[in-house]
Symmetry: C2
Subunit: 137 residues, 2 copies
């Protein structure tokens, strides 16, 4: 099947219409956050270009655009950590995506080996203003 991703229309059509008209940035990318389909826990933030978004919709598995490698990235193709898309949501102005996914393989998402990329929280000392990272949660 061929996925058609038309350009955005009027603000009202973008916000209230039923047409999916994703707004790619000047770099041709749209931001996508993957969260656990069951728990809603945030897993990773990545980017999609037009082709990776079309492939994601065609296959039901998450494809991203690797900015560091400059190539299409079928998440989990080598690690087995395939992300099956249970639901894809889009925001009001259609320039951000949220993917509710089930993760295959060992259930990991992060290249550091962790389940989620968001494993640290930012802690501020209110007296001194010193900022440091601590384990999240």
């Amino acid at each position: 099947m061929a996925i058609d991703l038309p350009p955005p229309g009027s603000p009202r059509e973008v916000e209230e219409g039923t047409a999916f008209t994703p707004r790619f940035g000047p770099d041709g990318l749209i931001t996508a956050l993957a969260v656990d389909a069951e728990t809603g826990a945030p897993l990773m933030l990545a980017h999609m270009n037009r082709e990776s978004l079309a492939r994601t919709l065609e296959t039901g598995e998450a494809w991203y655009w690797s900015r560091s490698r400059g190539e299409l990235w079928h998440k989990g193709a080598t690690s087995g950590q395939i992300q099956t898309v249970v639901e894809m949501r889009v925001d009001c102005d259609q320039d951000a995506l949220l993917l509710r996914v089930r993760v295959g393989g060992d259930g990991g998402c992060c290249h550091t080996g962790r389940r989620s990329c968001f494993y640290r929280a930012v802690s501020v000392d209110p007296g001194t203003g010193t900022v440091r990272l601590v384990p999240a949660g």
Copy 2:
């Protein structure tokens, strides 16, 4: 207090260290997703520049950078929908933020009047490939 946001060090320091070294993009911005602190429900995706991030850490309330207006944006300053930051998380390569927030005022986040910006899901007809937006959830 003055918030210090030093530049990134080695990949290992960025991923495993305790120093908060946010990586701003070529446009000087870092992506930030706000989620409900209690339920984890995604609320909105926005961007921060160095100053809005520092103000967020200093005040405990979310400040963004409005790309459309080209100005600092104290979320809720006019609407009352102030976002009190319960926890700020950063991802592995420190180029994305996740804010767990409590929303003030009427509890809304989206400029369309909805609680969340992610109110629509992308639906694909597997036979025809036709894509349309439907209510999320």
